[in-house]
Symmetry: C2
């Protein structure tokens, strides 16, 4: 049994808490948050505290906190003997250097508070300074996910950057699609199968090999017609820039 203290109560903390609670080998002994009201959902199930000096003894202290408070909180945990690990995509391992034993436990997924996730599908990116700490992180990850990757701090930053492109930016393109539909009385659901298939295609194929559309076909008359149809100057700019990017990306490869 691994004893765990969870610091934080946002989306990531809440999802991880649920996953840990369902696991036989992980016990969440305590949840910390600086604000008492954020702890009310956890109170009925486990110990809670608003004070860093009252953390219980545990094998691991998991910091599911905002990036910018991680170094400060770590400073206050320097006395602990357990492993101190954060869950951030962009914060380095060094940010925890005040602590005795340090690690990273970064779940690469997009978390919405009210949407259930399949934990078995979440890759955990792990980092630690020694083998035994890494093994503990792996054990925790495998207990709730089955997918664990060793990723160092430099790689993790790049991975987080990639995630912005394939998740956050992709979602904004979905928003643009939805807006165009709304303006023209078209139900957005018509686009759902296409969105799904586009995402599924890159499971077995490299996205660079399955690029389709007017840009890669260099179908200038469709491109011109589309630019004319776009009412928002921002969307026009995005259309133009990504079209050029597709053409130069695939031009290079020829």
């Amino acid at each position: 049994m691994i004893d765990l203290v969870l610091l934080g109560s946002g989306n990531v903390a809440t999802h991880l808490y649920r996953a840990f609670s369902a696991s036989e080998e992980i016990r969440v002994k305590q949840v910390y948050n600086h604000a008492e009201e954020s702890l009310k959902d956890f109170k009925a199930e486990t110990a809670v505290t608003t004070s860093l000096s009252e953390l219980m003894k545990a094998d691991i202290y998991l910091l599911a906190l905002k990036d910018d408070v991680i170094p400060d909180v770590a400073q206050k945990l320097s006395h602990l003997n357990g492993l101190v690990a954060h869950t951030s995509g962009s914060v380095t391992l060094n940010a925890l250097e005040a602590c005795k034993r340090v690690g990273v436990f970064y779940p690469l997924q997009t978390f919405s508070r009210n949407k259930e996730l399949e934990y078995s599908q979440i890759p955990f990116c792990l980092e630690a300074n020694n083998t035994s700490d890494l093994e503990m992180l792996k054990k925790i990850a495998k207990n709730i996910s089955g997918k664990a990757y060793e990723i160092n701090s430099e790689q993790r930053k790049k991975l987080h950057l990639s995630a912005v492109f394939v998740c956050n930016f992709v979602n904004h393109l979905y928003s643009i699609g939805e807006d165009i539909c709304k303006e023209n009385d078209i139900p957005f659901e018509i686009l759902q199968p296409l969105i799904k298939e586009t995402a599924e295609k890159v499971k077995d194929s490299s996205p660079s090999e399955v690029q389709t559309g007017p840009a890669i076909r260099r179908d200038q008359s469709t491109i011109d017609a589309h630019l004319k149809l776009l009412s928002s100057s921002e969307n026009k700019e995005i259309y133009q820039l990504i079209t050029t990017a597709i053409q130069s990306f695939h031009g290079k490869k020829l």
Copy 2:
């Protein structure tokens, strides 16, 4: 039984041919292409021709051809009594005006020659000049898909434009993500669950309501760090532009 003549032998034609062949109520009597060699896969299964003057009698002539040849081919089909319909997202119904009875049968999906598709998931966007022709198109669509939408030429153009954003442009963002992974020895498969979840999220929620990431959080230090990490000036420009677009899109709504 609906008798159908298929014109074209590209990705869309090939996928539709397979779907029609599996249906009990549609018979593909003949496949046309101007180039003999493109017909070799169909020859063993049905009649083929390279001459528009040798088309058989049918209920519907389906033009799964490149956009720019559709009006020319339609000119040569003006003598036919059957319904002449094209499968294009960007060509208007009027492009077929030389013909007696005209329609549009546009499958909104991304077709790759070697990937099997679930036809039941493809929405067909239908248009015709009269109710009985529209009913025939609906019958064909429902036979192979189950999803049929009445969409006029103006809406179809906008829908095609939306599709470029949510499919072609999204796929390019996947390519950028893959490139960043490659450069840093990270397996692209780590991003797969995130790609899948991002696409699935918008099935039940409006994409504008589930936007996450540094842009919408206005987390300028992460944005600056990401811009520094990007080696390609084109990707930097895309990062900057979509970040600004997310902020102005969500700023408006506040």
